[in-house]
Symmetry: C2
Subunit: 344 residues, 2 copies
């Protein structure tokens, strides 16, 4: 029987930026360089490219010589396609044996020359939006190790960056932790994971169980969240992820200036307290000890003096550490976790 | 743009039973004859077949002459395959222009002769386990008409039969109702629907919205449930279906003798009251007026005198009509619904 597994990428990466002029569209590549520089061997740029991620420029051959294992398409241009002129380079990389890693909406398998090149070298074509064909059904069995899941009052509210920042703060505090990816960009940053919203509905919890497997008793999986229990379109993904992750703890992510579901403006956001309460009630089903260990707020649209007041008020109301992870880091949440789990 | 739609079957059906000897494996065909005899033109049996569904025996040619539009494979044999000797008949039906409808685990498209026959006649090969490729994202927008969703303390606890019985009782009471299918057998019974547990996770609520579209103000969709909010593997399906269905009302389905999740015995069932409360709390997100209108209990494993006491006790505790739909019918629940929704 084939062992069921998550998507695994081979590092280090050569990141393809091409002749991109606007860094807005290089978010994927810049995110990898920012959060996981250890995974990056270099960037591949064409003449005329103005975006520089601050890592060595390399050709495909140079990257292979430097040990690269994958070419990661590091851009997400408008329309979701890469320019025609880039494909010769992607083909060259596949022929040289680099796995091609892509998070865009097209499928790499629809480019015959790239498919042929990969076949000759044995390189893999990896669309990180696509989960593996075979996934397990959730077992609900308790796993060893500890888990903290990011949840949100809405989608696209900072769950991935909170998880990355929390993992970074935990490691800085000498804790044993791993960022666990549940979305395509997260998978490129982690080097592995599963796009949980792309699996077949019956397998959501089973996929979540694969993402955070058994581990050391004092190890923390810091799990990227998806969707929201309160989202009229995506709540099923969130509940399956909550039950499959069996988190000991969760961090609630929120945006200080958001009052309605983004794109579903006829839905108001739940209150912070009701959101915490519902996650505890539902999460208890697979982990009776689940508790909230902090609130992560995107305060980037607030003025500095308002920002501090907002977080202080929220802290007073909930008794939990409240931080903007990209401004304050997650040190306060890590301290709280250490108090709450002294054995860990 | 293609209109997004559910799976639609063409009636009436010729039901293929073949040379089956044991009615246990003809559950699909027998269910259709039992619940929707209006969809059935006849049965196709081979020499030696001992199962008789009590409808006219017909050859493919006779069924076509009688107006049949589809050949439904009405058996679910052990191992999930149909005997080799049956395929010539299936091919004949496809060549004669009958859609072939199958709910087993293999794919009809993997039988080249059947594919070729269907191509010449224009017949469709329909695997009811497979949802359409294109499904919408949930909008959360309120739809006209009324909806009652079956939910459960566990999977495989009578949600489909409760929905069918409730629909039958509503129609007997002169109400305007439609059974809405969310699983493969239900789709064959209804002639349309979507296998909600087989859609990609991001589309669960969107698929649920398609299943019960806008309707007359006094019309009730009686929606087959799937999974359970409390199931460690399938809760995501159930929450997405709850949010997308936007039910005005729900019926909680339970088995009187079950105390743990079937197949996941390390999980005890939730109490009836906590199950009702959680469905109200979560369901309010897309329908603020959601309420429980009855409890459907499989009491087949209780003795007759115990059965009545069990239902009476549950009624006293909850104040809701409590019935075994296959013994008592759903008349009491229909009466309660009429009281609760006098305008409908």
């Amino acid at each position: 029987m084939t062992k069921l597994t998550t998507v695994h990428l081979k590092a280090p990466y050569l990141i393809l930026i091409g002749d991109l002029a606007d860094p807005t569209y290089a978010k994927t590549g810049l995110g990898i360089v920012d959060w996981r520089p250890d995974l990056v061997v270099g960037q591949l740029r064409f003449a005329g490219g103005e975006v520089d991620m601050g890592v060595p420029d390399m050709t495909v051959a140079e990257a292979v010589g430097a040990g690269a294992r994958s070419l990661v398409i590091g851009v997400a241009p408008i329309g979701g396609v890469v320019p025609d002129s880039w494909w010769a380079t992607i083909e060259e990389a596949a022929r040289a044996g680099l796995d091609i890693v892509c998070g865009l909406h097209f499928k790499l398998s629809s480019f015959p020359k790239v498919v042929a090149a990969a076949k000759t070298s044995g390189a893999r074509l990896i669309d990180v939006r696509n989960p593996p064909d075979k996934l397990p059904i959730g077992t609900g069995l308790k796993r060893s190790g500890k888990r903290v899941l990011m949840v949100g009052t809405d989608c696209a509210i900072g769950k991935k960056y909170t998880a990355l920042a929390l993992d970074r703060s935990m490691q800085a505090a000498g804790m044993n932790s791993t960022f666990r990816a549940t979305g395509q960009t997260g998978i490129m940053l982690a080097g592995e994971g599963l796009p949980i919203d792309a699996v077949v509905a019956d397998f959501i919890s089973g996929a979540a169980e694969l993402i955070s497997p058994d581990n050391d008793d004092n190890h923390w999986d810091v799990i990227e969240g998806q969707g929201s229990l309160f989202h009229p379109a995506y709540s099923g993904v969130s509940l399956g992820l909550l039950h499959g992750s069996q988190p000991d703890a969760f961090v609630l992510c929120h945006d200080a200036t958001r009052s309605v579901i983004s794109g579903w403006e006829h839905y108001t956001l739940p209150t912070i307290q009701s959101c915490i309460d519902q996650h505890v009630i539902m999460g208890r089903r697979t982990n009776p000890d689940i508790r909230c260990v902090g609130i992560s707020v995107n305060t980037s649209k607030l003025l500095t003096d308002k920002r501090k007041g907002y977080l202080a008020k929220l802290n007073k109301e909930t008794g939990l550490p409240c931080v903007d992870p990209l401004i304050d880091g997650c040190g306060e949440i890590v301290e709280f976790i250490k108090q709450q789990y002294p054995e860990g």
